[in-house]
Symmetry: C2
Subunit: 200 residues, 2 copies
DNA sequence: GTCAAAGGCGAACGATCGTGCGCTAAAGTG
DNA sequence: CACTTTAGCGCACGATCGTTCGCCTTTGAC
C-alpha cells in the first residue's frame, strides 16, 4: 500500500513521530507514552512507529534528546552571542521563563516533567536526561562564576547553589501555570531569579 | 482461606496498602502504579487490594490524600504553635527543606512528583491534588502577609510571588538530590528560601 | 530491465492492565 | 445457636501493552 518513501521522507517521518511523542509525553510522561497511542495519533501502524527505533526505550531516548535540543535552542541559542557573565545570565533567565510559559508542548516543559518522572529510577533514559541537565547546570555555573569574577555578582554567592535555585524556580513554572492557573508565573519566576542572583 | 478480619485489622490493611502505594508511586508515578504490582508487593491478591477502594482512581485519590496529610504532618504540624509570621515562616522553610531531603518515600516528595505528573491532565486526581496544594499555598501567603504587616519582611514583597518561589525551591530538591546526587540540596534550598523572603 | 534495500502495514504473540463475579471463612448480632 | 456481614481469594474477561514476523511496494543502484 504505502511502500518505501525516500530517505528524506523517512527522516521526516522519524521527526514527526518524535514531535508527537514529545507532545504526548509532556502530558502523560515518557512512561505513559505508548506505541499504540502514538501510532493512532500519527495514523500509522504500531510496527511502522516501532520500526524506526527498534524498542520503546530507544524511542524514549530519542525523545529525550529532541526535548533537550529544543530546550537549548529556545533558551541558550538566543543569548549565546550576548556578553559573557551577567548580561548573558539575565538573558538566559528571561528566555527560560518565557520558554516555560510557552514551551510548545501541551503538558509544559518536558525537561522539568521528565526530571521529576525519572529522578527516582534507574536506566538509560534517566542517565541520558541526567547528563543533559547536568551539562546545562555546568553552563549556568560557568556564567555565574564569570559574572562574579567580573564583579557583577556578589563574591560570596555560591555558583552551584545559585544554579540549583535558578533551575528550581524555572521548573516551578509548569505546575504553577497548569495546575493552579497562575498566569503571572513567568513574571514571578523572572523576578525570583533576579533576587536569587543578587544576594547569597 | 483468609476470611474476614476485625474492623481494626481491615483499617490496618487499608493503611498498609496506601503506604505501599505511596512508596511505589513516588518512584513510578500515580499512573505507573498498578494494582498487580501493588498486590505482589503486599503478598495479596489483586481483588483483595481493589476491593478496598472499588477502582484504581479511588485508590489514587486516597493515596493523594495520605501524601498530603503526611506533608502537613511533617512540615506544618511541628511549627503550627510557633509565633505567627516570620518565626513560623522560617520554621516552615527549615522543616520543608529537611522533609524534602528525607521524605520517607524512596522516590522523593510525592507532592512535588504528583504535581508535575498531573499538572497537564484533567480528572479527579488532579483536582484533589490541586486543591491540597492550593490550601498550602494559601497558608504560605497568609504567613508571609502577617510577617510583612509585622514589619519582619519588606512591604514591597508580593506574598503570592514569594509563596510561588518557596514552593518551586522546595520542589527542586527532589531532582537535585535523586537525579544529580546533590547532597547539599537541602542546605541550598533553605538558603535560597531565606533570600527569596528577604528581598522582593 | 533487474535486483537488493528498506519503509511501512497487518496480524499475531505472551504479558499485563483494570475490573467483575462467586466463593470461603471469620467476626459481629440476635 | 443461627444468621448476616464482609475481608480477601481465585478465576476469568476484554483491552492494551511492547515486540516479532512476514509481506508488499517503492526507491535507488547497476
Amino acid at each position: 500500500m504505502t511502500g518505501r518513501r525516500s530517505a528524506v521522507d523517512a527522516l521526516e517521518t522519524r521527526a514527526a513521530i518524535l514531535r508527537t511523542a514529545a507532545d504526548i509525553a509532556s502530558v502523560d510522561g515518557l512512561e505513559g507514552l505508548s506505541i499504540g497511542r502514538l501510532a493512532t495519533a500519527l495514523s500509522m501502524s504500531k510496527s511502522g512507529v516501532l520500526g524506526q527505533f527498534g524498542s520503546k526505550e530507544e524511542l524514549q531516548l530519542e525523545t529525550v534528546r529532541l526535548v533537550l535540543a529544543n530546550f537549548v535552542a529556545r533558551v541558550w541559542e538566543p543569548v549565546r552571542h550576548a556578553e559573557r557573565g551577567l548580561p548573558r545570565l539575565t538573558g538566559i533567565c528571561e528566555a527560560w521563563a518565557r520558554y516555560a510559559m510557552d514551551p510548545g508542548y501541551p503538558g509544559g516543559c518536558c525537561v522539568a516533567t521528565f526530571s521529576h518522572e525519572f529522578d527516582g529510577r534507574p536506566g538509560r533514559v534517566r542517565d541520558e536526561l541526567a547528563t543533559g541537565v547536568r551539562q546545562w547546570r555546568a553552563t549556568l555555573v560557568r556564567e555565574i562564576t564569570t559574572a562574579i569574577s567580573h564583579g557583577d555578582l556578589p563574591p560570596d554567592l555560591d555558583p552551584r547553589q545559585a544554579a540549583f535555585t535558578l533551575d528550581a524556580i524555572a521548573s516551578g513554572i509548569g505546575p504553577a501555570r497548569l495546575l493552579h492557573g497562575d498566569t503571572d508565573a513567568g513574571t514571578w519566576a523572572a523576578q525570583a531569579m533576579r533576587t536569587a542572583l543578587r544576594a547569597p
